[in-house]
């Protein structure tokens, strides 16, 4: 369990860095140039590390199914929705909604076991935990100093 938490924390830290660096790229180019570059870099890095770790096993795709290929589209969906959301709302609102939606979707996914995920029974504690986290996100995001949330509209 500790390992799982550590890995989730590492992933979250890298997502934070990636968001900051990507928004820098976005400032100079455009959102689709940025997305293409980001996913391309991600592909090259995964491919190289995959080759080092797995060798030619990386190409052993006997269990490949059609929906596996479609999963890459989620990355494109993320970009479209985030860009459109930010364009229409104050960034603080948009980010708060995105984070909340991530958590609520996660809880629903665990509880319903969609896509063949191992079901983790829904309990009131889980709901309460998610509500408290969402509350924390809202306090965090809406308590930010004004000067920057106005000036940077990413």
């Amino acid at each position: 369990m500790i390992l799982g938490i550590m890995l989730a924390l590492i992933a979250g830290s890298l997502v934070s860095l990636q968001n900051i660096f990507n928004s820098k790229v976005n400032e100079y180019t455009g959102s689709w140039s940025t997305t293409t570059l980001v996913l391309g870099m991600g592909f090259v890095a995964s491919f190289v590390i995959g080759l080092m770790v797995e060798g030619t096993q990386l190409f052993a795709l006997q269990n490949l199914q059609v929906w596996h290929m479609l999963s890459g589209l989620t990355g494109v969906g993320v970009v479209i929705c985030l860009v459109q959301g930010m364009k229409r709302l104050n960034p603080t609102y948009s980010i708060a909604i995105v984070l909340t939606s991530q958590l609520v979707t996660a809880l629903m996914w665990d509880s319903f076991g969609w896509l063949g995920v191992e079901k983790i029974p829904f309990t009131l504690n889980k709901l309460l935990g998610v509500i408290v986290i969402v509350g924390g996100i809202l306090v965090f995001k809406f308590g930010e100093s004004k000067q920057r949330s106005v000036s940077s509209s990413k």
Partner: protein, 141 residues
């Protein structure tokens, strides 16, 4: 209203991405899943880029290499997230991930690292982080 719907869908897509990678990794392997999803995503984004042709290509020259490389973090992000989901479930993974993400972003903001405009640390941020950690503890009991 449409902004709210896009934001809700955006969050749902982020979670879906993690779950889909976790499921594919069980059938193909984690690095296979990461390589495949990044590749198909890249092709799709490239197609859209060729149609909309946004931004200027000259802009890339002014960007620090570190920022241009940040996409490669995805390899480690996907590996870590997928392994975490297998170990501790989706809700717990996303919760821990978001806390780390918000804390580091906030630290960078307050220190002004990476040429980010400096921002002051306020009481609501401490309360917010305390609530998020409390929520994760509640999740686990």
């Amino acid at each position: 209203m449409r902004g709210i719907i896009f934001s809700i869908l955006g969050g749902a897509f982020i979670t879906l991405q993690g779950v889909a990678n976790a499921q594919i990794s069980q059938q193909l392997g984690t690095w296979q899943a990461a390589t495949l999803t990044q590749f198909t995503g890249f092709l799709m984004a490239l197609m859209i880029l060729l149609i909309v042709r946004d931004g200027n290509r000259q802009g890339f020259k002014q960007i620090k290499p570190l920022y241009l490389m940040s996409g490669s973090f995805a390899a480690i992000i996907i590996y870590s997230e997928v392994t975490a989901i297998h170990q501790i479930g989706i809700t717990f993974t996303i919760s821990a991930l978001l806390i780390a993400q918000l804390c580091l972003t906030f630290l960078i903001d307050t220190q002004g690292w990476f040429d980010v405009p400096k921002r002051k640390m306020n009481l609501p941020q401490f309360i917010g982080i305390a609530m998020m950690v409390a929520g994760v503890v509640i999740l686990k009991f």
